[in-house]
Subunit: 138 residues, 4 copies
């Protein structure tokens, strides 16, 4: 079906559901962030290591279309495609599908950049090389 650069399966934890009995909107951003970090880790880019070097990855824009809700007991998969959109912008297309019925939960487009030790936007060379080597959409 869809082809993703990376995907991660998780399950809803009850404390992530709000009084409506469904996963709270903000929690999906946690799922998306965790998947981005795991994706980067899978190609050797460790978020914590860069943070300790004073290099901060930051989200500059998030667009999220919520299509259906996850609830207690649900499993789901977050699929991710990464595209280097410009010199300073990485774009993560991320979809969440419920498992096993593959119902679409949300579609997101997350635009990120990195800030160097001086707080100025700059994608570290190491990240650039990894993105070029592992991700199609450049």
């Amino acid at each position: 079906m869809n082809s993703y650069d990376f995907s991660l399966e998780m399950s809803v934890r009850d404390y992530e559901c709000d009084m409506q009995g469904i996963v709270n909107n903000a929690v999906y951003q946690n799922y998306l962030e965790h998947t981005r970090h795991e994706c980067m880790k899978s190609v050797g880019i460790d978020f914590k290591r860069f943070t300790m070097m004073g290099i901060h990855f930051v989200v500059v824009r998030a667009e999220i279309d919520y299509k259906s809700a996850l609830t207690s007991g649900d499993s789901f998969r977050v699929g991710l495609r990464l595209i280097k959109e410009s010199r300073l912008r990485l774009v993560f297309y991320q979809d969440i599908h419920r498992l096993p019925d593959e119902k679409l939960v949300l579609k997101a487009k997350i635009t990120a950049t990195a800030l160097n030790q001086q707080g100025r936007p700059e994608i570290p060379k190491e990240v650039e090389n990894v993105v070029r080597a592992h991700f199609a959409g450049t």
Copy 2:
């Protein structure tokens, strides 16, 4: 400056900051949601009461532009304008400014609808009346 229909002042709590020492991306959605709920409560629309009636307010799309970060010790104000964009869509324009220097933290456009007891999109009459009475942008 900007004119908002409603605004709410809050302060960052340390547990909301992540290992980068700044407020985690997902937490801003908590701030935005809390402000929407307080805004609605200020005009008599209680989120919990509707939830217990089986009417669910849901976000269908979130667009968030992150401009600068909040950190431990910061205070901020969330300003909100509400517009009924179509028969089934309420749009909340929400900006966060740091206090007291008014530095822009983020701009968000949150599109919401409500689902009736049958799970079908329908803005309750009571909400429609309140929006018409209290908010300019119809």
Copy 3:
């Protein structure tokens, strides 16, 4: 080594770490709760189902000894023993060990009860039977 009635392996997610770079104290309670719910689910007791029936499982006392901290990238296992301490009290002994080195992270004793539809403490018969059948420590 230790013998648990149930155990669950998880990994730290970066958003669970606070500005100290370690998992925030409150997050361990999430881990503990998730493990209790998964344990109960493994023997047929679904938290959500009981909630919808108006039966609420509640924690009445938590004692947590924090021994060492988890950080970004860590995996860990939550082990659990369940004991029916009295007619109205279930006690969950829960330990977290880091993996793979088995370093002790915390030891917890969580005392819970259930509230019936009238809000009065009462362990549902179904839960009592399951506890008697599956857990040694009665």
Copy 4:
């Protein structure tokens, strides 16, 4: 009534409630931590500043008795008394009461210490002096 060294009023935010419609257990730890940090800040001890100096305040034991639940719309006050229990241990007694009816929500005893730059327990001199100057129970 009770006499506290410090107290802080807050309100429940809807995203803090879980599918039972009440504040999730772990969230109370957030309330308690935030109150401790605000208390310390009120006497000149800034958590972030110490973190950046490599000095980490850590909770070593939490005992929490949950007496009643907070729900959407509730306001509450966290009262705190601080006692230096031993050379290396600060104890925070923290109670939460619902407002305005003063119903007891929980009682907590949080034992904390600090780790110096070498990761060894040591209460910074500055903190010791402040505790002696501002808090009775030494």
